[in-house]
């Protein structure tokens, strides 16, 4: 922050950034529930699945409220000149991470997964690494947003980490889907569709983290003139 004795410039901007970080922390908390949900689904623990799903829905609702409040604050304030629309876009992409988590959770709990092949896919190392990289992508986005208070060089260094984790998640997604379709003959088609669509929606989590990081690049390009 630029500061002079008794005067602090950047207080408004700092407040927005702190709220953005808080919003993203809540979104990540939502996203981090997926692995527990998948583990419960793989064990056929319906009660845990439902309670985790409900918790994800609740967290997503809070993230949506936070996004709405912050969007209003940004839209009404006189700051982030020239990049206000991009800031709103960034907020939207961050919230989409929680939204896609919710969609994925909804799909996985539509029906109980009883097929052992399908369960083994949910418990596979590829699935674990896939979910891990989703979380790492969102974590990298958190780290990136923190750099808003450091400098341009740090932002540019951190922006690539999100891409790397998204790419890694993409690779494990490919392996999970390949395994699913290799073993699909013995699995109920509805279960195949459920697992496939779950993977696609979960993958959107990393995609939206990447979209958010793309907006950060735009913010840097515009923000520094």
């Amino acid at each position: 922050m630029v500061s002079l004795p008794g005067v602090a410039f950047g207080r408004k901007e700092g407040d927005i950034i702190h709220r953005l970080q808080e919003d993203l922390r809540m979104v990540r908390e939502t996203e981090q529930e997926i692995s527990g949900l998948v583990a419960a689904a793989a064990q056929g623990d319906v009660a845990t699945c439902r309670s985790r799903r409900d918790w994800i829905f609740e967290l997503e609702g809070k993230a949506a409220d936070a996004k709405r409040d912050l969007s209003t604050q940004i839209a009404e304030g006189a700051f982030f000149g020239g990049v206000r629309e991009d800031m709103l876009g960034l907020l939207d992409k961050i919230w989409k991470i929680a939204d896609k988590t919710k969609d994925a959770a909804r799909l996985l709990t539509l029906a109980e997964i009883t097929d052992s092949n399908a369960r083994s896919i949910l418990q596979s190392e590829d699935m674990r690494r896939f979910l891990e990289n989703l979380d790492l992508a969102v974590g990298a986005l958190q780290h990136l947003i923190e750099a808003f208070e450091v400098d341009r060089k740090t932002i540019l260094q951190r922006v690539h980490a999100v891409d790397e984790y998204e790419e890694a998640a993409d690779g494990f997604k490919q392996n999970v889907l390949a395994a699913l379709f290799e073993r699909s003959r013995g699995i109920d088609p509805v279960t195949v569709i459920l697992v496939r669509d779950f993977v696609f929606n979960a993958d959107d989590v990393a995609d939206y983290a990447q979209y958010a990081s793309d907006i950060v690049l735009v913010l840097v390009a515009k923000g520094y003139g």
Partner: protein, 314 residues
């Protein structure tokens, strides 16, 4: 002639001037997204009042200096009436008026029709300055932009935004300062025929005129002409606005010290292009650019001929 009539007309002209420039001052600052309408209005008002109080009297002889004899009552009246009519009409039509050029054109036209001997050299100096002003503002803006770029390159994104807001706030005051000093000073300098009033009276009158301009700016400062110059011509980042304002201020301050009436539009348009060239801008509204540049020639000429036609009728 009643001595209060030119002063009354000067008040009306100052009101129209405030209206015409309100968008330019407030609109650009709001457009850059760094200041709210209220913040912008307050800062511009402070700048205007300071500008006329400190430097407004520098312009007392600006128009009178282009003729070899003191201006007659009819020259003063025609200058003010023609300036009001043209500025009012063009502002209604949302066309950015080269305000000082209009006044100089009208004054020269009225003086010419009154057979007052024109000081061609002084008039030529003013016209030459008008031609140089956009280019000088462009160069000053280009340099200002580079300085700002260097100053912010190692700051955080949050601090850059804070820097922009503080910077735009400061240059808002400064731009309003030089604009009021130059243009309201010119209006005031045209509103009397005899010897200048005492400095205390002059400052009070100038402050009263500036207050009229502030009222007009506060009433009408929600867009209009600024949209023409700023938004439709090309789009600038907050740093671009900061640099363009800085370049404009430098040139207008120089003009005020030389007692040359100069148009803020001319300087600001030059400044905006200076900021745009730092990014090798490819998209410019060519039609509007030509319209603006053409208005710099057409409007003072129109003022000259209109004044020349009206003067014999009085």
């Amino acid at each position: 002639m009643d001595e209060r009539l030119p002063l009354l007309l000067a008040g009306v002209l100052t009101f129209v001037f405030g209206w015409n420039n309100s968008g330019l001052l407030i609109g650009n600052e709001r457009g850059s997204g760094t200041l709210s309408a209220l913040e912008s209005t307050i800062l511009c008002s402070i700048g205007m009042l300071l500008g006329v109080a400190v430097e407004g009297r520098e312009m007392t002889k600006s128009l009178g200096g282009i003729i070899a004899v003191p201006p007659t009552g009819s020259v003063v009246l025609v200058t003010l009436v023609v300036s009001i009519a043209l500025t009012f009409g063009l502002t209604l039509g949302r066309i950015p008026v080269t305000f000082s050029a209009t006044m100089v054109g009208a004054f020269a036209g009225a003086a010419f029709a009154s057979s007052a001997p024109l000081r061609v050299g002084d008039l030529a100096t003013i016209i030459a300055f008008w031609m140089i002003a956009p280019l000088a503002a462009m160069a000053a803006t280009f340099l200002s932009y580079r300085v700002i770029e260097r100053a912010t390159q190692n700051l955080s994104l949050v601090s850059v935004d804070a820097f922009n807001r503080a910077g735009v706030g400061l240059v808002s005051v400064a731009l309003a300062y030089v604009l009021a000093a130059n243009n309201i000073g010119t209006i005031y300098g045209t509103s009397f025929t005899g010897s200048p009033p005492s400095s205390a009276d002059a400052v009070l009158t100038l402050l009263a005129l500036a207050a009229v301009a502030v009222v007009a700016m506060a009433i009408f400062g929600r867009g209009s002409v600024a949209g023409t110059v700023g938004d439709r011509l090309l789009s600038l980042s907050p740093q671009g606005v900061l640099a363009a304002f800085s370049g404009t201020i430098i040139v207008m301050l120089a003009a005020t010290q030389l007692a040359i009436p100069v148009s803020v539009t001319q300087c600001l348009v030059g400044g905006m292009f200076g900021a745009a060239f730092t990014k090798k801008i490819a998209i410019i509204n060519r039609r509007l650019s030509l319209e603006v540049v053409a208005s710099w020639v057409v409007i003072p000429l129109a003022a000259f001929f209109l004044a020349a036609v009206v003067t014999p009728l009085l």
